[in-house]
């Protein structure tokens, strides 16, 4: 039997990379927009902002991990919008009739999203370090960098796969905007990216506690050597982040495997 998973997944992943490079607008959307947010929030709050329970740190420092998660989120959104475009433009139908496992289709997309998110995040962090707007107290050690990278990969796989579950069923980009605004953006806003759980109203704290992004962000913060400011413990954060990635990828494979009974 021919390989129906990893060679096709590799090819689909490669296609994601090539398309990203050839579509300059995607770089703007998924990298520059978060950077702009970071500059606005960082400079806007300036010295007047100190999160409840947080140690003394500049607002640029505080918003840094959240900005990285925003890069992950935007990359995942673009990756999923391309599923809808591929369906509309006809490319996807060719993949669906090929002897390719549905896991390959999901992995091509999810690993593509993860790779792009990592590359952009590293670029962003490099710029932050070079401009001395972050890591004034020194960068993370090898273990921390590894933890941060793992957090990024897992979180972007989870979010991309979660988006995939919805993008697979909708047939227009407009419909996906609803998913984006009602699910994905709130997941980011309530992850501790904008404000720590410690000072939030009780209902918001509940939402933050059940939001998987909270744990991914906490894992990332811990890896980057930042205090989680009242967030989940590192071990719990890592466990939930792994679980979320596995569950979301499984859900995406199940959705993609369902054969349609109607047109």
């Amino acid at each position: 039997m021919r390989d129906q998973t990893w060679l096709p997944a590799f090819s689909l992943w490669q296609r994601e990379m090539v398309r990203f490079v050839r579509q300059r607008s995607r770089v703007t959307g998924s990298l520059l927009t978060p950077v702009l947010f970071w500059l606005l929030f960082g400079a806007g709050y300036g010295g007047s902002f100190r999160p409840a329970g947080a140690p003394e740190s500049s607002s640029f420092e505080y918003f840094l991990p959240g900005t990285v998660v925003l890069i992950v989120l935007f990359t995942a959104i673009f990756a999923n919008i391309s599923i809808i475009e591929d369906r509309r433009e006809g490319f996807l139908q060719g993949v669906l009739v090929a002897p390719v496992s549905r896991l390959a289709i999901v992995m091509g997309k999810v690993l593509g999203g993860a790779t792009l998110a990592i590359l952009q995040a590293v670029l962003f962090l490099a710029v932050a370090v070079a401009t001395r707007s972050a890591f004034s107290g020194g960068g993370p050690g090898p273990a921390g960098a590894l933890e941060a990278a793992a957090a990024l990969v897992l979180l972007s796989m989870g979010i991309t796969a979660l988006g995939f579950v919805f993008a697979w069923r909708v047939d227009s980009v407009q419909a996906f905007h609803g998913v984006m605004n009602l699910l994905l953006m709130p997941m980011w806003a309530l992850s501790g990216a904008l404000f720590p759980a410690a000072g939030a109203a009780p209902p918001i704290r509940v939402l933050m506690a059940i939001n998987p992004t909270t744990y991914g962000l906490a894992m990332l913060r811990h890896g980057l050597g930042r205090d989680a400011t009242g967030g989940p413990a590192p071990a719990l954060a890592a466990a939930v982040t792994v679980g979320f990635a596995v569950l979301a990828v499984t859900a995406a494979v199940l959705v993609a495997s369902k054969r349609r009974k109607t047109a």
Partner: protein, 310 residues
């Protein structure tokens, strides 16, 4: 030789609407068969079932001996599909599209590179191999699309209205390429179309109307069955004219697609008495040898253009 495609009592419902009803047909290796029918006649439904993206409500279908429902992976390996809209990635070059396609079918390395090169040459795409698909004309993009569909040398190639948006020259070009692919690789082609001239040049034609297979045979045989000549008259009042002809000449005359239609052994001989009898009511008259449109009329009991939502 064993059948490349065989369906038995294939049927499909969308809710209470029967989109496909009791379709049984067999395709032999190396045949080019047209699937002719009006839009909404069930062609796309049949193709969706055969290409394993949708399960049929009833009946069975096998491709290269594999059941489409139970062994979709084997069916997909034996099958190539050209869709109504090209399934190329417009942001990739022609060559990149072909290499990607090869990966999906488990091909890789030098073997794949060689096969891509052969395919580019066979389809006259060598000069444009490095160009983005979005820069190709419709005809060239379609050629690249078909090259992509046959790269893994499928036993059966399904083509869903591949000439949509092509000019007549590009359409003929496409058929020639299919014939050559068939001659070189023995690929059976099953080509959905709503164009009579496209169906006429195929080895056989299957006519699908309102989900039912109403004819299956060589175009010449089907046309011969109609026989004689077909006389068509246009009129301001076709219904009234048909009634008048039936009364006056004691012969069959029906209205189809806004025209009065008669089948006669010698149509030309009928024209003079007709024009003499109704000089003011006949706007124009034509006599022609029957074609597939007349086969459709006879088998489906209505004109092709009258639509399918009956």
């Amino acid at each position: 030789m064993s059948a490349v495609l065989e369906t038995r009592g294939l049927g499909h419902d969308y809710g209470s609407r029967k989109a496909l009803d009791d379709v049984s047909l067999t395709l032999a290796p190396g045949e080019i068969v047209a699937l002719l029918g009006p839009n909404g006649g069930g062609k796309s439904t049949l193709f969706r079932i055969l290409s394993t993206v949708m399960d049929a409500s009833r009946g069975e279908a096998t491709i290269a001996g594999h059941d489409v429902r139970r062994a979709p992976a084997d069916v997909r390996q034996a099958l190539g599909v050209t869709f109504q809209a090209p399934s190329l990635d417009r942001k990739l070059t022609v060559r990149e599209n072909l290499i990607h396609q090869g990966h999906l079918y488990g091909l890789r390395g030098p073997d794949l590179a060689k096969r891509v090169q052969v395919m580019l040459e066979a389809f006259g795409l060598t000069d444009r191999a490095g160009d983005y698909v979005e820069t190709l004309s419709g005809g060239l993009a379609r050629r690249a699309d078909v090259a992509k569909s046959v790269l893994h040398r499928p036993r059966l190639l399904l083509l869903d209205e591949p000439s949509t948006g092509l000019d007549p020259a590009a359409r003929r070009d496409l058929l020639r390429l299919l014939q050559r692919t068939r001659d070189e690789s023995g690929t059976t082609c099953f080509l959905a179309t709503h164009l009579f001239e496209e169906a006429e040049v195929c080895d056989r034609v299957a006519i699908l109307d309102r989900g039912r297979l109403v004819a299956l045979g060589r175009p010449a045989d089907l046309v011969r069955e109609v026989g004689g000549e077909v006389v068509k008259l246009t009129s301001d009042d076709p219904e009234g004219l048909a009634v008048a002809i039936r009364e006056r000449f004691a012969m069959e005359a029906v209205v189809a697609d806004g025209e009065v239609r008669m089948e006669r052994e010698d149509g030309a001989a009928l024209l003079t008495p007709l024009l003499a009898a109704f000089p003011d009511r006949i706007l124009s008259a034509t006599v022609a040898r029957p074609g597939l449109s007349d086969v459709f009329f006879r088998r489906a009991g209505r004109a092709f253009e009258e639509g399918s939502d009956a």
